[in-house]
Symmetry: C3
Subunit: 347 residues, 3 copies
């Protein structure tokens, strides 16, 4: 498909939805309600945005089923169970990404014994050191540095300015954003005669298949042994992962969250933005940590926590709310105590 | 002016102040009180630093009007309503920045259809991809990568190692510090059959005029539509801005603060260091968020908040202080309850 | 020593320990218990990992004295007072780092008046501007940018993608990890007619001997005067240090911690992950700040604090725990008050 233009009927077919209104109406893009124009599908996936609908110049709407009744009848729309999930096939069709021309830029510096797959793209000024292996159909962005003996799996994309320390292992279909550092030295020191003496960091960093790593994120390699990011796990921007951490599969770590060294994390764990985990913890499967929370103890499967130190989410929110509900509790208790002692004096 | 040397009288003229003491005394620099020498103006803009005055070797002082009476009479000084603001003209005069020689370094890689303004400086190993436009008098630092179809306005400075993802738009007189990533993919996934599936991020990142962006900061582009940073807004180091955020003009975001996706922020908003905003919020004009606070709900114009979840600043501080004021409240209330039930038993 | 293989007896000699079991057993590496194989020393330095011992395939153990009695008698081990500290000599011996070939890569760009010591390694695409001095035996990684008039002391390692702004001073034996920015502009603005006007940042950044700086960390230079990191201080990944901060010697700042401008910090201070200090504070020697804590006032020597705003650690933890200990305190106090007023009514 070369022409990124679809009728509402074709949109409905693509996303498994149904059209309400003019099936033949054509759209070329998808946009937030307040930015959408007459050739755009305005996105309505969240009740909070209903108020923006009257002003929207969208030619038609992509709307979640539970919101479709709130849309005025004169608006054509495609309704679908989950409008956000419907973006996946739709955006791929309407915004095809120009495939970069395969080839190694003449300015790239390649070491000895580099193995390069087919259809690899290597950008300007990339540095690929001795013994590195790059899989088929990988993209290595401008200025990326792939340290000695690193391995990158098939179909992986390293955006510009990524640095892999030596011996880093990256799986297939991984996306690594600009400025990510993988395999850096962990924060390991011994105190000798009162001074901090560096413990050599001799392990490595392993990133499994289908991981995505946001811009500026840093993952240390193992001090001894591995730091490992499980398959399908997604890390947002500016996340820190310490040495010897083991992140399970299918986790999602929001921006600026941080994991101290030697933490073991299960599958499907979610961390909110700026949340943190103390060192050496064991975090179970499906755990959820609210944004800015600080976890100081092990967590069992399925726990949801908040606060620093983190507690069960509902318990925390109830206790926190109680702080604001009553004023002057201390003075009032003192008044009661005084009343009691006076009453006793009277007896 | 070639010789960075000024009499106190000239300093006073420059900053709109008045001399107390020797008008003919010459200074060549400005320094903190504890580092200042005989040819320096020592800066005294904050009462907290008065204690450092006796030890200071400063030849003279630049002092705010409200502190001048606290300065011993034998110290020559220039008094001005706001000594900190007076630094602006004074430092420009005493520390003229060497203007880099215009020209494109021979190692820079330029794509097809690049438009380059007059007097542009392009550093070594910069990569400027197809269709990029760079305005007059811009500086593009060493190793900067300007992705396809990006546009950079007049007089903007990109420090070394800046990466612009494709189609990023940057206004005029913007300063972007080393290692900033603009237009990276947002953290957008749909859950399909239990796995996190990437939603293509097809929008762009727009930075308006007179913005400054600190080292290491990352701003994602819109998933669909824009992420936008308003004119004159300043971001400190290592800040995260998620996809589809709209930051108003004249905001100041301190280091390591973070804004989740789809937040709309008004004009003149201030965020302290390590503060965070949850997704999809609307934050009014002039809002202030204390450092490390986490905002979980919309905020009206002019609110000042603290805590996680954030509350009105004074309310939070009062409630927090109450936590520490009274000890053993729980036990004491239990004692009172026991007393009541015993008294009732006696009746 | 070319062959990284040691008998337990040789290990014991190297680390000042004693062998329990087979002194002639040979090991080639050190690994965490769950990753160790028959030629590895499994590390047992922390009681929390005792549970992993039965499953461990380690050929022998490196164990702290206080844990050796918990190790089954059929396991050969080297016992030592502090197994973690013993890693320092042991890993240096078993994992010798390949010394990079001295020499300046032909793609490096060197400015005028660059002074280069002996046995320096300069990687591909490094940019060393006019007037820079690089000490003997330094390593300058790929794509590093050393701004005009910077100085780097003997034996210092700059990993790939480090950026030094002009006039940065770095001492001897410093390790600077990938993507670190030193000497960037601080966050300094004056409010003029309601707009934020940049105060020129004309100071510099000074890093003393034996400092290590983690990946992605940013340290601003002084606005006027210096920002200084004391000898032997260690900074983890993604730390922010504002302008005019003075960090004493021997401090340890965990990942994502942040220090606002003009803070003065003593010797041996420790900050946990994501902790922050407000501006202009004085922090004494040996202070410890718990992770995620936010310090808003000066701290005397030896204080240990937690919370935001930070309080004495034990006081904070007691107050925080009290929040969760009693439920419905407010309602119960109201009940008591009602009882009192009814009782008074009866009188």
């Amino acid at each position: 498909v070369n022409d990124p233009r679809l009728t509402l009927s074709a949109v409905a077919d693509l996303v498994g939805g149904r059209v309400r209104g003019d099936e033949t109406l054509e759209v070329r893009g998808v946009a937030p309600l307040e930015e959408a124009g007459p050739t755009d599908l305005g996105l309505l996936a969240d009740r909070r945005y209903l108020g923006r609908l009257p002003e929207s110049g969208a030619g038609a709407l992509l709307v979640s089923d539970d919101l479709v009744d709130a849309v005025p009848g004169d608006r054509s729309c495609v309704a679908v169970p989950d409008a956000h999930a419907a973006l996946v096939p739709l955006l791929h069709r309407l915004y095809p990404r120009p495939a970069p021309e395969p080839g190694v830029h003449p300015t790239a510096v390649l070491g000895r014994g580099v193995e390069m797959g087919v259809d690899v793209v290597v950008g300007p000024y990339a540095v690929i050191e001795d013994g590195v292996s790059v899989g088929d159909r990988c993209t290595v962005g401008a200025h990326a540095v792939l340290g000695r003996d690193s391995r990158v799996g098939e179909g992986t994309v390293l955006h510009p300015h990524v640095v892999l320390y030596p011996r880093t292992l990256i799986g297939r279909r991984v996306i690594v954003h600009a400025g990510v550092r993988l395999g850096s030295d962990g924060f390991g020191y011994a105190v000798v005669d009162g001074a901090l003496v560096k413990v050599p960091q001799v392990g490595r960093c392993v990133v499994e298949d289908d991981v995505e790593i946001g811009a500026g994120t840093c993952i240390d390699r193992g001090s001894i042994g591995e730091t490992r990011v499980g398959a399908g796990t997604k890390l947002d921007n500016l996340v820190h992962v310490g040495h010897n951490v083991r992140l399970g599969p299918g986790c999602a770590l929001a921006a600026q969250s941080g994991i101290s060294g030697s933490v073991t994390i299960g599958a499907g764990v979610m961390m909110g933005g700026q949340a943190g985990l103390a060192g050496h913890l064991r975090i179970g499967n499906g755990v959820r940590v609210a944004g800015q929370s600080g976890v100081a103890g092990n967590l069992a499967d399925g726990e949801t926590v908040m606060g620093t130190p983190a507690r069960d989410l509902k318990t925390f929110l109830r206790a926190y709310a109680s702080l604001f509900r009553e004023r002057n509790l201390g003075r009032r208790v003192r008044d009661l105590e005084r009343g009691v002692s006076e009453a006793e004096g009277e007896r």
